[in-house]
């Protein structure tokens, strides 16, 4: 191997000087990027802590931070009841949904190698929406706690269908096939959802309040019920992050280097389906978080999935909790749904980042 630019005259690799020289012809990750990553991670963790406390303290009735701590310490006096019975479950739910959507978005963009790869893209959100509409329209469900499991099941089945179709034929689930199959399943189920909603006004009436995406009025035990799914999904996503980096090289090169492309992509899809299914079931289709957060986070962490996935999860938690808190404040005494606020905050932010050239096409 000739490592110098000198053509053919000396085979420098055998000389002692070359052996002692640092072996790295590939540019190492610049120190600045390493620092930026650490800073991003620290800032995100701090922001998440702030968002959690804001979510506990702020609302139609503001609670002093001291009382929040008292409530967390076990007090049941005065405002502590509000915090313990209403705000803690809602915050836990928001945290789970945000973490799940952020991580799912990062994984979805990696396995489809498509910047449009939002967690709803492999059919999960559309499946959940169809299941909810069917549950209301055909099985006369009336309470949100009834159709949460419908949503989860519908989302998972739709995701599986999209992955199966995208995965048949030569090369398995190539990114383009997977993305197209997901979009086709989404549009297919969307047709039936529209039909159910159009044919019956009562279905539309209930469906539209689920479809807007909100954390309000959910049962207190929903968070603990969904937590195992979210945690399992997060662990799977984090465990896959190193292998997802190999996928970024392109399927052929990754295979040549010994990466198991099909297995990795299939496991990634499982993570996306579980995480998104749980999140959509709990909060309705708030998929915008999963779409925007990875793009924003990538500007600081670069495309390395080992940093991108955890930072996206944290960022998702911050955005969703912040949106929920803002929604409680701006429209007092009413509330603005988190699904609306995330999009209204997230979209201009993303647009400005693009305009300033902060987001470049990543190498995949």
């Amino acid at each position: 191997m000739r490592k110098s630019g000198l053509p053919y005259l000396v085979d420098v690799s055998d000389t002692p000087a070359a052996a002692q020289a640092p072996p790295a012809p590939a540019p190492p990750p610049p120190a600045r990027r390493g620092a930026a990553r650490s800073v991003a991670l620290t800032v995100l963790v701090l922001a998440l802590v702030v968002a959690v406390f804001a979510s506990l303290a702020v609302g139609s009735k503001s609670v002093a931070l001291g009382d929040v701590f008292a409530a967390l310490g076990g007090s049941r006096e005065g405002d502590a009841v509000v915090v313990r019975d209403l705000r803690v479950p809602r915050t836990v739910l928001g945290l789970l949904v945000g973490l799940a959507l952020g991580a799912a978005g990062a994984v979805a963009q990696d396995i489809t190698r498509n910047p449009l790869g939002d967690p709803g893209l492999i059919g999960v959100s559309a499946g959940a929406a169809f299941a909810v509409a069917a549950g209301i329209g055909l099985f006369s469900l009336t309470h949100s706690y009834q159709y949460i499991w419908f949503a989860f099941l519908g989302g998972a089945l739709a995701g599986l269908l999209a992955y199966t179709v995208g995965g048949t034929g030569y090369g398995g689930a190539t990114p383009a096939k997977l993305a197209l199959a997901g979009a086709a399943v989404t549009l297919f189920l969307g047709s039936f959802t529209s039909a159910l909603v159009l044919l019956d006004v009562n279905t539309l009436d209930q469906y539209r309040s689920w479809a807007v995406g909100s954390l309000a009025g959910r049962n207190a035990d929903l968070g603990p019920q969904l937590a195992p799914f979210v945690i399992a999904g997060l662990i799977l996503a984090l465990a896959l992050s190193g292998r997802l980096n190999a996928l970024a090289l392109g399927d052929d090169l990754a295979t040549t280097l010994g990466a198991r492309v099909r297995t990795t992509r299939a496991l990634g899809a499982v993570a996306v389906i579980v995480l998104t299914g749980a999140a959509v079931a709990a909060a309705g289709p708030v998929t915008f978080v999963g779409l925007v957060i990875p793009h924003l986070v990538r500007a600081f962490t670069g495309p390395d999935a080992r940093w991108l996935i955890p930072c996206s999860a944290l960022g998702g938690g911050v955005l969703l909790l912040a949106a929920d808190v803002i929604g409680r404040v701006v429209a007092r005494p009413g509330e603005l749904e988190a699904g609306v606020v995330t999009a209204v905050i997230g979209a201009p932010f993303l647009a400005v980042m693009v305009k300033r050239g902060k987001l470049r096409e990543h190498t995949r």
Partner: protein, 362 residues
């Protein structure tokens, strides 16, 4: 793509025609696909005029067309079926072309007005018009000011997207897609929010429009989209060569002598206007703009997204879907937007699953 492979492979058969500086080379399979689609479109068009709750014999249709028809058939054909079929055909062409241009320029098979925020902008504009503009007409056909609201919403959204995606003298596909999905997300959330707060009757009316329907389209719709296509169609087709080159990477396109920046922007603007006009007359019909180019590409067996074939495919898809929507549950009519997704998406899934040869997968 190595040189030996290229020499070993027999050249794809093609029809060539040259006239002065213009050279046209169309692969045989693409030409055959186009011919088949033209036939299918013609059949679907005739069927849309003939079939329905009141069947008009073909002879009477011809009579109505050439001005010697009598009362009932003449009325049905002239005021109901013909404008509706023409609207479907023209909107289908517009959706198909718009989708093809978006997918080619951004080099992303998912890019379509549905996902890039143009449809979402039109939807938000239309729903706002319905809710705040006091559109109270009971019939789903009379939408009054709604098409203008939709057109305004779509063009305004497009302007905002271009303003944010424009940098360094051009718009790259990546920036366009990113800003587009941001706009789509925000506007879709806004629409859902308006729907969740609206009076339920108005919400139901808005849902019909948001699904996409061709019910009760009149000659004014045909004129409107017809004039728009008269300008936009030649403009888009004139850029067909640029369109082909843009599907390569930037360096290749530049080295082939392309003025990349200008062509990309003009094509995107033309496609946006096509999508906006089509959406304003038919509503944000799902799937056509996304699916038609992908189906066309697989039928024609081309490497990139074919332009003309996509437009024809869009017309066939919309005509056939509207016909199916009128006949399947007759006398109840399904909005065309439900049928396009329900029929077109499984077909695309079938094509995806069937494409099991190397190079056909993506």
């Amino acid at each position: 793509m190595t040189a030996p492979a290229a020499t070993r492979r027999p050249r794809a058969r093609a029809l060539t025609a040259e006239a002065g500086p213009l050279g046209l080379r169309v692969p045989v399979r693409t030409a055959l696909t186009c011919a088949a689609l033209l036939l299918a479109g013609f059949a679907a068009f005739l069927a849309s005029v003939v079939m329905g709750t009141y069947a008009v014999p073909l002879n009477d249709v011809l009579g109505a067309l050439f001005g010697y028809g009598d009362g009932a058939a003449d009325l049905v054909v002239h005021t109901l079926r013909l404008p509706r079929a023409l609207t479907a055909m023209l909107a289908g062409i517009a959706f198909g072309l718009a989708g093809a241009v978006y997918q080619a320029v951004t080099r992303n098979p998912l890019a379509s007005p549905d996902l890039i925020g143009i449809s979402a902008g039109a939807g938000a504009g239309a729903v706002a018009t319905i809710l705040f503009g006091g559109v109270t007409a009971a019939g789903a056909g009379t939408f009054g000011a709604v098409p203008y609201g939709a057109l305004g919403g779509a063009l305004l959204t497009a302007a905002v997207i271009y303003a944010f995606a424009f940098r360094g003298g051009t718009i790259t596909g990546y920036r366009f897609v990113l800003v587009g999905i941001a706009a789509a997300g925000a506007l879709a959330a806004l629409t859902r929010w308006m729907l969740a707060r609206a009076d339920i009757d108005q919400a139901a009316r808005a849902m019909v429009w948001l699904t996409g329907s061709l019910n009760g389209r009149s000659w004014s719709h045909v004129e409107w989209i017809g004039y728009a296509l008269l300008i936009l169609l030649p403009l888009t087709l004139a850029l067909a060569r640029a369109y082909q080159l843009l599907q390569f990477d930037d360096a290749t396109a530049l080295s082939l002598g392309m003025r990349l920046h200008r062509a990309r922007i003009v094509l995107l603007i033309a496609a946006t206007c096509l999508a906006a006009v089509a959406t304003s007359v038919a509503g944000p019909v799902a799937f056509v703009a996304l699916g038609a180019p992908q189906i066309a590409r697989r039928l024609a067996g081309t490497a990139g997204v074919p332009l003309v074939t996509s437009g024809l495919m869009g017309a066939v898809l919309l005509l056939a879907a509207d016909l199916a929507g009128r006949l399947v549950l007759a006398p109840t009519e399904l909005p065309v937007g439900i049928v396009t997704g329900a029929v077109g998406a499984p077909y695309l899934l079938y094509l995806l699953a069937r494409s099991n040869r190397a190079g056909r997968g993506g």
